[in-house]
C-alpha cells in the first residue's frame, strides 16, 4: 500500500484510468460479446466524438472557474440554424459556419455578461440557454428539419472515413489537438489557468482576464455547436431538443477527467469522455432504456466528485494509515 503510494502520481492516475477502462470493457464484454467488436468500437468512438467536442469547450470554461449551463440550449439553436440554412439551399460550408457562428455569438453574449458586466455566471447562462431554446423554435415551429440533407452532403460528415477512422473521430482529434495546443502548449493556455487560479494575480501579471473569460465562453459555444453538427449529421435531421442530451455527459466528462487526473485539462477531459462513452455505449448495446443509463451517469458523476475530492481523499487516507486528520 505504502509502496504503491510512492509511485509518481501521474502513473498512479494513469493506472487508475486504464484500470477503470479495463473493468468497464470486461464487464460489458461479459454481458454483450459484441462489445469489443470492430463495428461497435467504431460506434463507441463516434458517440464519443459528439460528447467529447462539447466537453472540450466546457473544459475552457471550467478552467477559468466559471460555469456554462447554456450550451445545450445554444447547441439546439445551432442545430436548427444549420438545418434551416441547409433547407434554404445554402451550401454545406455556409450552413455549418452559420451554425457555429450562432454558438460563438451566444458565447460572446455569455462572456460579455459574465466578464464585463459581472453578472453571476450560473444564472446568466441558464437565462441565455432558455432564450436560445425559445429562439430555436422559430425556424419551423418546433418540427424537425431534414430537407436537402441528403443533397448537401452533410451525411458524409458522419459516414466518410479517413485512414480507417470515422470522420467524426477525425474532427474530434483535430479539435482536441488544437485545444491542446491552445491550453497546454502556448502562453494563452497559461493565461487561462492563471485566470482560473487567481484572477487578481493574473491581472497583475498582465493577463487580460476579461478577454480570456470571454474567449472561454465563446469557445464553449462554438464547440457545442460543432458537436451538435456531428449529431445532426448522424441522425439526419435537426431537432429542437437535440442539445438537451449534451449537458450531463459533458459535465460528467470534465469532472470525471478532472477527478482522475487532478485538474481539468484536455487529455483529462478526453479520458473522462472515453469512460462515459464506454459505459453509455455498453448500455445501448445491452438495450437498457435511457432512463437507467441516465441514472448511472449521474451516480458516476456524484461518485467521481466525491471519491476524488482532495478533502475526502485526505480523510480516507488518514483513516487507512490510522491517523486522524488534523482539524
Amino acid at each position: 500500500m505504502t509502496e504503491a503510494l510512492k509511485l509518481p502520481p501521474i502513473l498512479l492516475r494513469l493506472g487508475a484510468f486504464i484500470g477503470l477502462l479495463a473493468v468497464i470493457a470486461a464487464v460489458f464484454q461479459f454481458f454483450a460479446p459484441a462489445y469489443l467488436s470492430n463495428a461497435n468500437l467504431h460506434a463507441l468512438l463516434r458517440h464519443m466524438s459528439v460528447n467529447g467536442l462539447a466537453a472540450i469547450g466546457l473544459t475552457f470554461v471550467i478552467v477559468v472557474r466559471h460555469f456554462d449551463l447554456s450550451f445545450p440550449g445554444v447547441a439546439s439553436l445551432g442545430a436548427m440554424t444549420l438545418g434551416w440554412l441547409l433547407a434554404m439551399g445554402h451550401g454545406l460550408g455556409v450552413s455549418i459556419s452559420g451554425g457555429i457562428a450562432v454558438g460563438v455569438l451566444a458565447g460572446v453574449i455569455n462572456g460579455t455578461a459574465v466578464a464585463y458586466f459581472k453578472l453571476p455566471d450560473i444564472v446568466t447562462t441558464i437565462a441565455t440557454g432558455g432564450v436560445a431554446v425559445g429562439l430555436s423554435y422559430f425556424y419551423s415551429n418546433g418540427t424537425s428539419i431534414s430537407e436537402n440533407f441528403f443533397m448537401s452532403g452533410i451525411l458524409d460528415l458522419n459516414d466518410a472515413k479517413m485512414l480507417t477512422l470515422d470522420m467524426p473521430v477525425v474532427i474530434l482529434l483535430c479539435s482536441a489537438v488544437v485545444a491542446f495546443i491552445i491550453l497546454h502548449a502556448s502562453r494563452y493556455g497559461r493565461a487561462f489557468y492563471a485566470t482560473g487560479e487567481n484572477k487578481l494575480s493574473a491581472i497583475f501579471s498582465g493577463v487580460r482576464v476579461k478577454a480570456y473569460i470571454l474567449a472561454a465562453f465563446a469557445l464553449c459555444g462554438a464547440s457545442a455547436c460543432l458537436a451538435i453538427t456531428l449529431l445532426v449529421a448522424s441522425s439526419g435531421a435537426a431537432n429542437v431538443t437535440a442539445g438537451s442530451q449534451l449537458l450531463m455527459p459533458a459535465f460528467a466528462a470534465v469532472y470525471l477527467g478532472a477527478a482522475l487526473f487532478g485538474a481539468p485539462s484536455i487529455p483529462a477531459t478526453l479520458a473522462g469522455t472515453l469512460l462515459m462513452s464506454a459505459m453509455l455505449n455498453g448500455f445501448t448495446l445491452l438495450a437498457i432504456p435511457y432512463y437507467y443509463s441516465d441514472a448511472i451517469v449521474s451516480t458516476v458523476l456524484i461518485g467521481a466528485i466525491a471519491i476524488f475530492d482532495p478533502k475526502l481523499t485526505a480523510m480516507l487516507t488518514g483513516m487507512v494509515t490510522g491517523r486522524t486528520t488534523a482539524r
Binding site: A127, G130, V131, A295, S298, K311, L312
Partner: protein, 329 residues
C-alpha cells in the same frame, strides 16, 4: 449648518425615489402585467381563471420556498424540479399499484427527505461543489422518475384526499393559496426577524466570517437542502393530484421558473437578496404570464423567450442596482 443638513436631506430624498423604484419595481411590473392582460382579454380576470392561476402559483410557490433560502445563503440547488417530478411519479405509481393516497403521499415526502439528505450531506458536510452535485442528483431523480413509469406518464382515476384538499375553495380563493400565504408569512418572520434569517444573509456575504463567528454553517446548509427537498416533494405530491397523473418530465418547465422567481424576487425589497415576499410576487408574475400568454395564443417558445429575458434583465438589474447603491444600504 442649515444648508449642510438641507443638502443632506435633499440628497437622501432624491435617493429615496430611486430606491423606491428599485425596491418596488417588481410589484409595479406585476400590477402592470395583470392590468394589461385584463384589458386585452377580459376572461383573464374571470373567477375561474383567477382561481386556476392562484392554484398553480401556490404549487410553484411551495416548490420554490426552500430554493429561495438556499440561493439567499449563497448556494444553489438545481435538483428541486427533478425531486418534484420524482415525488410526482412515485405517488402516481404507488396509487396505481393499489396503495392509498396517504401511504403514497408519505412515500413522496420520503423522496424529498432522501434527496435533501443526499444533497445536504454532499454539499454541506463534504463541501463538494453544489452546482455539479445538484445537477447530478437532479439527473438521478429525473431518471428514476422516468423509470417508474417506464418512460411514459401514469394517469390516475382518483385524486384522493390530496385532490379534495386542492379543490377546496374559500370564496374564490383556493384553500392551498391560503396555506401558502400562512407558510410564507412564517417564512418571512423567520428570515427577517429571527437570527436564523440573518445567518442566511450573512452566509451569502462572507461564509468564512460566519464560520469564525461560531455559527454552525454546515448544519444550517444541511437543513436548507432538506427543506428544499421536502418543499419540492410536497409540490410534486400536489401536482399529482392537480394533474391527476404522474408526469416524468414535469420538472423541465419549473427549472427556469424557479430560478427566475427567486432571482427576480430578490430584486424586490432587498436589492438582489432572495427573500420570500419577492419570490411570491415573482411566482404570481410568472403565473399571470402563463395564463395570459395562453389566452393571447402565444406559443410556448415565445413565452420561454419572455421568461429567459425576464431572468436576464432581472439579474442585470439587480447587479446594477447593487453596485450603484452599495455604499448606501
Amino acid at each position: 449648518m442649515t444648508v449642510l443638513t438641507d443638502n443632506a436631506r435633499d440628497h437622501r430624498q432624491r435617493f429615496d425615489l430611486q430606491t423606491f423604484l428599485v425596491r418596488f419595481g417588481l410589484f409595479f411590473l406585476l400590477a402592470a402585467t395583470l392590468i394589461l392582460f385584463a384589458l386585452l382579454r377580459p376572461t383573464f380576470i374571470s373567477v375561474g381563471n383567477i382561481n386556476d392561476m392562484m392554484r398553480s402559483a401556490s404549487i410553484a410557490a411551495i416548490m420554490f420556498l426552500g430554493l429561495t433560502w438556499i440561493v439567499a445563503a449563497g448556494e444553489i440547488d438545481v435538483s428541486f424540479m427533478s425531486v418534484a417530478a420524482l415525488a410526482n411519479m412515485l405517488v402516481a405509481g404507488l396509487v396505481q399499484a393499489g396503495f392509498g393516497w396517504p401511504v403514497a403521499s408519505l412515500g413522496g415526502l420520503a423522496v424529498g427527505v432522501v434527496f435533501g439528505l443526499v444533497n445536504g450531506g454532499l454539499v454541506a458536510i463534504f463541501r463538494l461543489p453544489a452546482l455539479v452535485i445538484t445537477i447530478a442528483t437532479g439527473g438521478l431523480a429525473g431518471s428514476i422518475a422516468a423509470a417508474i413509469g417506464l418512460g411514459t406518464s401514469i394517469s390516475l382515476s382518483s385524486t384522493g384526499f390530496v385532490g379534495a384538499a386542492l379543490q377546496t375553495n374559500i370564496g374564490i380563493i383556493p384553500l392551498v393559496a391560503l396555506v401558502v400565504v400562512v407558510l410564507y408569512a412564517i417564512a418571512y418572520f423567520i428570515q427577517e426577524h429571527l437570527t436564523f434569517g440573518h445567518y442566511l444573509y450573512a452566509m451569502e456575504q462572507n461564509r468564512a466570517a460566519v464560520v469564525e463567528a461560531g455559527i454552525p454553517v454546515n448544519r444550517i446548509l444541511f437543513l436548507l437542502y432538506i427543506l428544499s427537498g421536502v418543499a419540492s416533494a410536497v409540490a410534486g405530491i400536489l401536482l399529482t393530484a392537480d394533474l391527476s397523473s404522474g408526469q416524468p418530465y414535469i420538472g423541465g418547465s419549473y427549472f427556469i421558473d424557479g430560478l427566475t422567481s427567486v432571482l427576480l424576487g430578490g430584486m424586490a425589497l432587498k436589492y438582489g437578496k432572495p427573500n420570500v415576499v419577492g419570490t411570491i410576487a415573482a411566482v404570481l408574475l410568472l403565473a399571470a404570464l402563463l395564463s395570459g400568454a395562453a389566452l393571447l395564443g402565444w406559443t410556448d417558445s415565445q413565452r420561454q423567450i419572455v421568461r429567459g429575458m425576464l431572468l436576464l434583465f432581472g439579474v442585470a438589474f439587480v447587479v446594477w442596482a447593487r453596485r450603484k447603491n452599495r455604499a448606501h444600504i
